[in-house]
């Protein structure tokens, strides 16, 4: 089990009902973590998401470490 901090923005924040949460999880990768959180919060389809780990763009398959901070990034619409 790892302790992971997740931060939510925009549509994901509204669906999660919070801006961030800290959780203990058996998820080994961002992909597994997103699946777990998606079941819990019922995230809608938002198109292709990116993931950031510790405030850098990350890999969906890279192993998570205890204490990592994770952000799931919906498609952006800047400007």
């Amino acid at each position: 089990m790892r302790e992971i901090q997740v931060e939510y923005f925009a549509a994901l924040r509204e669906h999660a009902g919070c801006g961030r949460e800290r959780l203990r999880t058996a998820a080994r990768t961002p992909r597994e973590l997103f699946a777990e959180l998606s079941r819990r919060h019922g995230f809608p389809e938002l198109g292709p998401l990116k993931v950031a780990v510790n405030d850098e763009f990350g890999d969906w398959e890279a192993p998570l470490a205890d204490g990592d901070s994770v952000v799931f990034i919906p498609p952006v619409a800047g400007g």
């Binding site: 923005f9 198109g47 292709p48 952006v76 800047g78």
Partner: protein, 154 residues
């Protein structure tokens, strides 16, 4: 000034512009994104921007640096508003100064295009009919797909 910044306060193009002044430069190009009263055929009343600032600052600075190196301009910067904006408000400002105008135009265009696709900023539109919604990048929405968690394990 920092190459890329977010601002919760109204942007001041006059002072932003002065920060790029340089007597070596003969050309200055700026882009401003203004809040429009319509989008995709719907009447917009107001909007808000939300940014993932820690990552956005890094990615924005990378984009500005790429533009400086790729086009050989002297100075470039970008500032993006966050928070609640009204119609006509300035949402994003890009400025580039350079010896010649070719490079200034190209670098300015590069920065706004890349910022719109790579910097994690989301826009929630509030419509005249009372509805509101987060706007997805059009290019992405056209091939919307389930997030990767559903598709495959390892």
């Amino acid at each position: 000034m920092k190459p890329f910044a977010f601002s919760a306060e109204p942007l001041q193009p006059a002072s932003l512009r002065r920060s790029l002044a340089d007597p070596r430069c003969g050309a200055f190009v700026s882009f401003e994104g203004w809040v429009r009263n319509h989008n995709d055929g719907r009447e917009v009343r107001a909007l808000e921007y939300e940014a993932y600032e820690q990552l956005g600052l890094k990615e924005g600075a990378r984009i500005v640096q790429e533009a400086i190196e790729r086009f050989g301009v002297d100075h470039a910067a970008c500032v993006h508003r966050v928070g609640a904006l009204a119609l006509g408000d300035l949402a994003v400002w890009v400025g580039v100064s350079s010896a010649h105008r070719d490079a200034a135009f190209a670098a300015c265009r590069y920065i706004i295009d890349e910022v719109k696709h790579r910097v994690p900023i989301w826009k929630k539109e509030h419509y005249a009919d009372g509805d509101s919604g987060w706007v997805n990048c059009e290019r992405c929405a056209s091939h919307a797909q389930p997030p990767p968690a559903r598709q495959a394990g390892r």
